[in-house]
Amino acid sequence: MASGLPPGLLNPPRPLSEAEKAAGDDTDAGGLGSVPGTMILVLVFFAAFIAYYFVNWKLLSFLWKIG
């Protein structure tokens, strides 16, 4: 595409009806709710968070030895 216009303007997303918005999405992949993909990303985020937090406390423990 060499139009110089973003796809969101050239071909805007189809507007959702009020009924569609109200109904939402009935996907429920393995108990992950209606946004299963996002839930997986959130779990990856928390895993990264825990790992980085732990590593930093471990590094601190090397510097501040007890006893």
């Binding site: 139009s3 216009l5 973003p6 918005k21 939402g24 209606s34 993909g37 996002t38 985020f45």
Partner: protein, 524 residues
């Protein structure tokens, strides 16, 4: 100016009625922001090529001068001019309203430009080699402080115009129901801006007097009050950036808002708790006790972090629901795979969310812990963190929305479209490498704001792990890649705005009273 005489044009794409003054103010602020980005970006390359020990380009004095120029242009001028443009868009434009007092708005803009020029002059002429923080007792030329004060006064005027535009729009019934979420987010950014600018006045006015030898200045008090400005100003960025996330989600893929109340409460959390979070800059300062530090960082700061985590969930969640409702329901990630990755607005949005959250967010919360801060403070880990938040997060989001602002506001097609499509990949990829390697270098103890980590000529020797050379080299390559992405952004925007192909329609200069939109801004 009466309402009926106000000049509007109807955007043929969004059907929004755009007030001519709002149009002009958005353009003016966006152009100055881009100029500041260019200056700050060139300074960034020079700083980078000096910190890269294999090149070590600049001498000591010039390094600190250029670092000051880089910090002020990127963290203050580029970001705040762009945010003023966001306020004029999220206020008068999204609410189909007019700019309430155009003369005051333009006075604010002129004051901001005047203040910027004064600060630039003092920095470029070597009269303000005090870095972005300008910590006392480092002393700059009085015009440096006066320039910052004028800039802040101009920004306050723009913020007041935004507040007034909400009142006028409500009174003239130019919209129905509650203000759109994007406008609500911009409102929180404006409130934080008001708090921030009060801190700015509280510290820069006495510092200006101190620079004239008219009063003393305590270094610890300076740091305490200054960070009410220095950190809170970055929280204006966060609130504005999140507003842009919601806007880009709606524009690019028709994202829905998962829960309006939850998103609005998250914005309010920013207003309530973010100022206290400024304390994390003072975690190794001797002036405040542990209780003060722990309350402000390990409790209040987490409430602001909670707000970011809520937005970090609701924005991609809204994209996922929007895509699924349009038929992309296969498996866990069809909605993401089939998303418009060739749209620089969309790719910028996703990169902004991911790098801001995964790199900037995780490192920020970790370094905001008092004990861990002891080993991270004043190392390269700190700039590694804030380049992931302010640059990869805020600047990336602002770049993404520019690709929509050019056709919608400037009424021009985006020039060099193939380059524009790859620009977010270059910029975000480069900044990701840059931020992570910078953080790694800091883990090895490499100091921040330091001209020469070999300490050549010093009476003592200090050697870092040999891994530092490799990490710093990778940091430089990532930084240069990001600079290339930034350069493409400037080329595309400047060319589009000044030499770009005009779009048809929407430039009719129609005169009409504003009215509630039929469909347009409902999405945002």
């Amino acid at each position: 100016m009466t309402t009926a005489a106000a000049k509007f044009r109807v955007c043929p794409t969004t059907k929004l009625r755009v007030h001519a003054q709002a149009d002009a103010l958005i353009k003016a602020n966006a152009v100055v922001a881009t100029v500041a980005l260019l200056i700050g970006g060139l300074a960034a390359i020079l700083v980078l090529l000096t910190r890269w020990q294999a090149v070590h380009l600049l001498g000591a004095e010039m390094f600190y001068r250029v670092l000051t120029i880089h910090g002020m242009n990127m963290l203050i001028f580029f970001i705040l001019f762009f945010e003023m443009a966001v306020l004029y868009f999220a206020g008068p434009v999204l609410l189909n309203s007019r700019v309430p007092a155009p003369k005051i708005a333009w006075t604010g803009f002129v004051l901001m430009v005047l203040g910027t020029l004064m600060v630039e002059w003092t920095m470029f002429t070597g009269r303000a080699d005090v870095l972005f923080t300008s910590y006392v007792p480092l002393r700059a030329h009085p015009l440096f402080y006066l320039g910052v004060i004028l800039f802040a006064v101009g920004a306050v005027l723009a913020v007041c115009i935004f507040f007034a535009s909400l009142v006028v729009a409500r009174r003239e019934r130019t919209y129905e129901g509650s203000v759109p979420l994007v406008t609500f987010g911009a409102l929180t950014a404006a409130i934080i801006a008001a708090i921030t600018l009060v801190h700015g006045a509280a510290i820069y006015i006495p510092t200006f007097l101190w620079s004239l030898d008219l009063m003393p200045m305590d270094a610890q008090v300076y740091r305490l009050v200054w960070w009410g400005l220095g950190h809170s100003s970055q929280q204006i960025n966060v609130a504005a950036m999140v507003s842009v996330w919601y806007l880009l989600g709606a524009l690019t893929v028709g994202a829905v808002v998962l829960n309006e109340k939850v998103s609005r409460i998250a914005f309010v959390l920013y207003v309530l708790f973010i100022s206290m979070a400024s304390a994390h800059h003072l975690l190794v300062d001797p002036g405040m006790g542990p209780a003060w530090k722990v309350w402000n960082t390990s409790y209040f700061m987490y409430m602001a972090v909670l707000a970011s985590m809520i937005h970090g969930f609701t924005v991609p969640g809204g994209i996922e629901i929007g895509m699924r409702l349009r038929g992309y329901t296969k498996g866990l990630f069809e909605w993401l795979r089939r998303a418009p990755w060739g749209d620089p607005g969309f790719s910028s949005l996703i990169f902004s969310i991911v790098v801001f959250g995964f790199v900037g967010g995780i490192t920020g919360v970790t370094f905001g812990t008092e004990q861990i801060n002891i080993i991270a403070h004043n190392t390269l880990r700190i700039p590694g963190h804030f380049h992931a938040t302010v640059v990869s997060g805020t600047a990336m989001a602002f770049m993404g929305v520019t690709y929509y602002v050019i056709p919608l506001i400037f009424r021009k097609k985006v020039a060099f479209w193939p380059l524009a499509r790859i620009q977010p990949y270059l910029f975000a990829g480069g900044m990701l490498i840059f931020s992570i390697t910078m953080t790694f270098a800091g883990t090895f103890g490499v100091p921040r704001r330091h001209w020469d980590i070999t300490f050549s000529g010093a009476p003592f020797t200090l050697e870092f792990s040999p891994a530092v050379d490799l990490v710093m080299g990778m940091m430089a390559l990532g930084g240069l890649m990001a600079a290339l992405g930034g350069g493409i952004y400037i080329l595309v925007t400047v060319w589009s705005v000044f030499f770009g192909e005009k779009m048809e329609g929407g430039d009719d200069g129609e005169r009409a009273a504003p009215r509630a939109p039929e469909s347009a801004s409902a999405a945002v």
